[in-house]
């Protein structure tokens, strides 16, 4: 029985690697490709096991699923925060045996990858999991039921209060952040005011680089696919190297700028390499992305942490607030300011419509796409809800919807 399982995982890993290769080749074949992007493409090509990542970044790895765990704190403790993501359809199918059909594709892919990489024994990987949505909460069980071994021995839960506004939620989250600090120190990390301050500055520079890239995409100087590639590679290498490479990205002459493209805001579930299907479809149908609030795009982390009280407690509470109040994840109860981000981005860049991408099985985004539609339409924005998963077969259905949506957007 074990031999068959190992054969399946070997075949799946091979299929997943070919997916990555195909995606990278497609990107390499684009006409607006430039040498600046090579660093990021090599990152994707490399092996993503914790050992490989920690050897590349020179720091032990702490694996995350959601961005509410303050990565500056993890970095300050001497670890490398590594958000484990995957867009691989092969891995998603691999995990299918142990999981319900309608699981969130992203977590199914991550579970599949973990199952393919493990031999069933409990891993030594350190996980920090904020309890954002149900899938994350069920993730350890998903791993166990799909034969990827248990992660509970080195797993730290962070109870995410789902009410952002209000003192009790914020106080409890601050306790959780201090709890994370204790966990990291338990794993041998040392956190001081200086190391916290240094990490906060490092990630603020990363945020500066990301905002610069977002601005370049907004002005159409780089294509949405390249932005997604760079943003997606954020956790694959040390933040300093990523920032240096991102800052040195200069748009190739000519760029993807073409005026008659319609501009939209891409919202909803995250899009991860190698599955850039939606981004390619949008680009083919003459729709360019002016801004997005995907947690794989402009929201890979909530942004530069500003604080006035530079004591250790001051910085810790600034981190806690920034990652809790500042997060626009739909799993929060009071997330009604979410559309404000779209309206605010619209002040600086004129997009006419919002494409709301929902991964089939992601219920929070599914529901939020309905509640968000009316207010956005009231403010004169067109709205298209696209539900899809990692399968490539439905691209024809999506293309029809996108082209029709393109028709309703007025040409600039």
């Amino acid at each position: 029985m074990v031999k068959r399982a190992r054969k399946i995982s070997a075949k799946t890993s091979e299929r997943a690697r070919s997916e990555v290769r195909k995606s990278l080749e497609a990107l390499a074949a684009r006409d607006d490709r430039s040498a600046d992007f090579d660093y990021f493409m090599d990152l994707y090509g490399a092996v993503q096991t914790p050992e490989a990542v920690s050897e590349r970044t020179g720091r032990p790895v702490v694996s995350l699923l959601c961005i509410q765990a303050p990565i500056e704190l993890i970095h300050a403790a001497g670890f490398h925060p590594h958000k484990v993501v995957s867009g691989s359809q092969a891995m998603a199918n691999m995990a299918l045996q142990g999981l319900p059909a309608l699981t969130c594709p992203m977590l199914r892919a991550v579970t599949g990858a973990a199952a393919a990489a493990s031999d069933g024994t409990p891993g030594t990987r350190r996980w920090v999991l904020p309890t954002t949505c149900d899938w994350v909460v069920k993730f350890p069980e998903m791993l166990e039921s799909s034969g990827a071994g248990s992660i509970r021995p080195s797993l730290h839960w962070m109870e995410l209060p789902h009410l952002k506004d209000g003192d009790s939620g914020q106080a409890r989250w601050l306790e959780e952040v201090f709890g994370l600090k204790k966990f990291l120190e338990g794993c041998g990390g040392k956190i001081s005011r200086a190391s916290l301050d240094a990490s906060i500055r490092i990630y603020r520079d990363a945020w500066r680089a990301l905002t610069r890239l977002a601005m370049m995409r907004q002005e159409g100087r780089i294509a949405a696919v390249w932005f997604a590639l760079i943003a997606g590679a954020f956790f694959l290498d040390s933040p300093e190297r990523w920032t240096k490479a991102a800052l040195s990205v200069n748009p190739p002459p000519g760029g993807a700028r073409s005026d008659e493209r319609a501009h939209v805001f891409l919202a909803g579930s995250p899009i991860f390499f190698p599955n850039f299907k939606l981004l390619d479809l949008l680009e083919d149908s003459g729709v360019s992305i002016a801004a997005d609030d995907l947690c794989s795009g402009e929201r890979i982390f909530p942004g530069g942490v500003t604080y006035r009280d530079s004591s250790e407690f001051g910085m810790m509470s600034a981190l806690a607030q920034r990652y809790h109040q500042g997060c626009l994840c739909p799993t929060f109860i009071d997330n009604d300011r979410r559309i404000n981000n779209i309206l605010s981005r619209r002040m600086a860049s004129d997009f006419q419509g919002v494409v709301f991408h929902v991964l089939k099985g992601c219920h929070p985004y599914d529901l939020e796409s309905l509640s968000v539609e009316a207010p956005l339409k009231e403010r004169g924005l067109k709205f298209l809800r696209l539900e899809t998963d990692y399968a490539a077969e439905d691209s024809q259905n999506l293309r029809t919807r996108i082209e029709a949506f393109r028709g309703t957007l007025s040409r600039r």
Partner: protein, 256 residues
């Protein structure tokens, strides 16, 4: 005479319309089969021979539907939402404001402005519930031709419930209902109600203001329109050739 040809390569059937000016000269359909281009060519030749016309007299061919790119020699590929809107608008004499299209594999609800342009639209998700597929399955299981569905539906007396979440389950439900001796007419009526519920679910808050038109293949059987009326609580008009509005719209959008 200059003819304009509109080809709708749908998921279940290929429809062809030959238009003279804005009058429908000929319309015909064939089931979708692999090698859609050849099937479309054959359908087109059938139409031309029926009109006694030659290929030369065709001023333009527009293709639409899922397979629009498969028909390579078309002058223009138009997405089916735009052509559906154009067709319904013209055929309804410019009064259509909301168009409900029940296709073979999808369900579309379009909102039009006063000039027939698409203001907003909704399409169903990755699920065939509430589409034409429902009726085809029922026809096969109840071995009754789609044509009589409208009549049979009218003389149903009893209220029966078929779920509207999944077309595959609906099939097994119908078999179990038949086994329990439920009359065919009641099952067909339940089927219409289930599709109607599905459509109104999609319509959601899209208030069907102005005149509502139903088109697409399944619209041919009147039962669906009446089921929709008591579900959406508004008057539903059905165009006289609902299956061909999309193809007709494609042809008309070829311009003069």
């Amino acid at each position: 005479m200059a003819f304009k040809v509109g080809l709708d390569l749908g998921s279940t059937a290929i429809k062809a319309v030959i238009v003279d000016g804005d009058r429908v000269a000929w319309q015909g359909t064939r089931a979708t089969a692999p090698g859609q281009e050849a099937v479309a060519e054959g359908l087109l030749d059938e139409g031309l021979s029926a009109l006694g016309a030659r290929r030369g007299e065709i001023s333009g061919i527009a293709s639409t539907g899922y397979g629009k790119k498969l028909y390579a020699s078309a002058d223009r590929h138009i997405d089916e939402i735009t052509s559906n809107a154009a067709g319904a608008f013209i055929l309804s004499g410019g009064s259509a404001r909301t168009v409900i299209n029940v296709g073979g594999q999808d369900l579309k609800i379009l909102t039009l402005d006063d000039s027939g342009g698409v203001v907003d639209f909704k399409m169903n998700d990755k699920c065939a519930a509430g589409t034409g597929r429902f009726f085809e399955l029922a026809a096969r299981i109840l071995d009754t031709p789609l044509g009589d569905f409208a009549k049979l539906c009218l003389d149903s007396e009893e209220e029966v419930e078929i779920n509207s979440t999944c077309v595959v389950f609906a099939e097994s439900e119908m078999v179990s209902l038949l086994a329990r001796g439920v009359k065919k007419e009641d099952i067909i009526r339940a089927l219409h109600c289930s599709v109607a519920r599905r459509v109104s679910g999609l319509a959601g808050r899209l208030s069907p203001d102005g005149r509502v038109y139903l088109d697409g293949g399944p619209a041919q059987n009147g039962g669906l329109a009446s089921a929709l009326e008591d579900e959406l609580m508004t008057e539903i008009n059905v165009l006289e050739a609902p299956q061909f509005t999309v193809a007709y719209g494609a042809a008309m959008s070829l311009g003069a």
